[in-house]
């Protein structure tokens, strides 16, 4: 059947009640410093990948935290693991370990 693109839009709302936090909790176990993020955006500002793509490490971090994993796996592939974010983080979050751990967790069902 031809798809004319008519469909119900999914809500953009982050629904804390519906989201599953299992992966988020696993991430916290692997990278405890992840909990300390204060959302300052220093990581994103220094990010090499962000200079040339839509990649945003802070956004990935926050979406994972809210249990919104759907769009993440493609996004995380854009990170080159250069580790500049690690150098600027004021809360000393192990951002590189965080990205690697997120990638691994998103592969597991």
């Amino acid at each position: 059947m031809i798809s004319f693109g008519f469909s119900l839009n999914t809500s953009r709302t982050i629904d804390i009640d519906a989201d599953n936090f299992d992966k988020c909790h696993s991430l916290i176990n692997h990278v405890p410093s992840y909990k300390r993020c204060i959302g300052c955006g220093g990581c994103a500002a220094t990010c090499s990948a962000q200079q040339h793509s839509q990649f945003n490490i802070l956004k990935c971090n926050l979406l994972f935290r809210r249990g919104e994993y759907d769009t993440l796996s493609n996004e995380l592939d854009k990170c080159m693991l250069c580790g500049k974010c690690l150098l600027v983080c004021p809360r000393n979050v192990n951002t590189r370990a965080m990205i690697i751990s997120m990638r691994n967790l998103l592969k597991t069902k």
Binding site: R12, D15, I16, K35, I38, L62, R66
Partner: protein, 336 residues
């Protein structure tokens, strides 16, 4: 005619500390409060930020020296007017009694913001919406509740809000919320806590460290965004709507308990006395002559002001301010 060297109106932390200091200078002090007991708003809190020390222990320390021959304590006394007459100050209470002194110190402090005024948060409408003051009773064990599965804290209720006429930051609620989330986590380790904030202002010594610990050791979630409204669910919970401003997306959350972090307004007494003497700011707090050089003085000779009747202060700041006021008053008395 002047029975006392100084009348201190308000027996909260500021009034108690000022009375204690003046008594040590051998000054005769009359300490007046409208309540039936001393301590003022200190009585509303169980443990204090950022070190979880006991408020009642502090009150005991503060009141230890009040039963001293230099201090006369008058409780249940509501001062409704202050007048100056020929270099003495007169304070008249609601029963028509008048007290005389050479100087007067206003220590009438603050009132907690009345959360009913933010109707969209449903305080007084939904039983699971409480204030930070109500939560203290739960934390102290005075009131018991069932283990909540999700608790939301809402910052800046009655602060930084032109809609209620309070443009100011109450400055103590941010750290108070962090303290309370930790206490709540200690009481209910399995409860998920979400704290909604506009900015988190951790300006004081070891405040930032406590915030860090609340994240690292207690897993408290902080969401940047102001909750717009709260509505009930079929099963007697409440739903909060907010914008997750760091993600630019709407967010909703069902909670068993919502804690409104109510701010500090000039107290009714502060407003009445400030108005009467024309020494208040537009926000109702009493104006000192100069916040850098003469922060205890008012424009009226012999009338002084201390503590949260001037502006929002933490308890240690109030203590220092009260000592300062007492020293200034003692110097003033020496010049007469």
């Amino acid at each position: 005619m002047n029975t006392f060297d100084s009348i201190i109106i308000g027996a909260g932390p500021a009034g108690l500390k000022a009375a204690d200091t003046l008594a040590n200078f051998n000054r005769k002090v009359l300490l007046i409060d409208t309540d039936a007991k001393i301590g003022g708003k200190l009585n509303l809190w169980d443990r204090l930020f950022p070190d979880f020390s006991s408020s009642q222990e502090l009150l005991n320390q503060l009141s230890k020296n009040i039963n001293n021959e230099n201090v006369t304590l008058k409780l249940n006394t509501n001062i409704i007017s202050i007048k100056n007459n020929d270099n003495h100050w007169m304070a008249t209470d609601s029963n028509g009694n008048t007290f005389y002194a050479t100087t007067m110190i206003i220590a009438t402090g603050f009132d907690v913001f009345d959360a009913h005024r933010k109707e969209e948060y449903g305080y007084g409408i939904y039983k699971n919406v409480i204030t930070s003051v109500d939560l203290e009773k739960i934390l102290s064990g005075e009131v018991s509740i069932e283990t909540p599965s999700k608790v939301a804290f809402i910052q800046c209720v009655g602060s930084r809000d032109e809609k209620v006429g309070n443009n100011f930051c109450s400055k103590n609620c941010c750290i108070c919320a962090v303290k309370q989330t930790i206490e709540l986590k200690e009481k209910f380790p399995l409860t998920d806590i979400y704290c909604f904030y506009m900015d988190l202002r951790m300006f004081g010594q070891s405040y930032e460290e406590l915030y860090r610990r609340s994240q690292q050791d207690y897993g408290v979630n902080f969401v940047r965004g102001r909750v717009s409204e709260i509505s009930p669910t079929m099963d007697n919970k409440v739903v909060l709507k907010a914008e997750d401003t760091l993600l630019s997306r709407p967010l909703k959350l069902t909670a068993d308990l919502v804690v409104l972090m109510v701010g500090m307004e000039a107290s009714k007494g502060t407003k009445i006395l400030g108005n009467q003497l024309n020494i208040n700011n537009t926000d109702g707090f009493v104006k000192s002559t100069d916040r850098y050089l003469s922060d205890s003085e008012t424009t009226l000779k012999g009338l002084f002001v201390t503590g949260t009747s001037k502006r929002q202060m933490s308890i240690p700041e109030t203590m220092n301010d009260a000592v300062n006021a007492a020293v200034i008053v003692n110097n003033f008395l020496n010049t007469l």
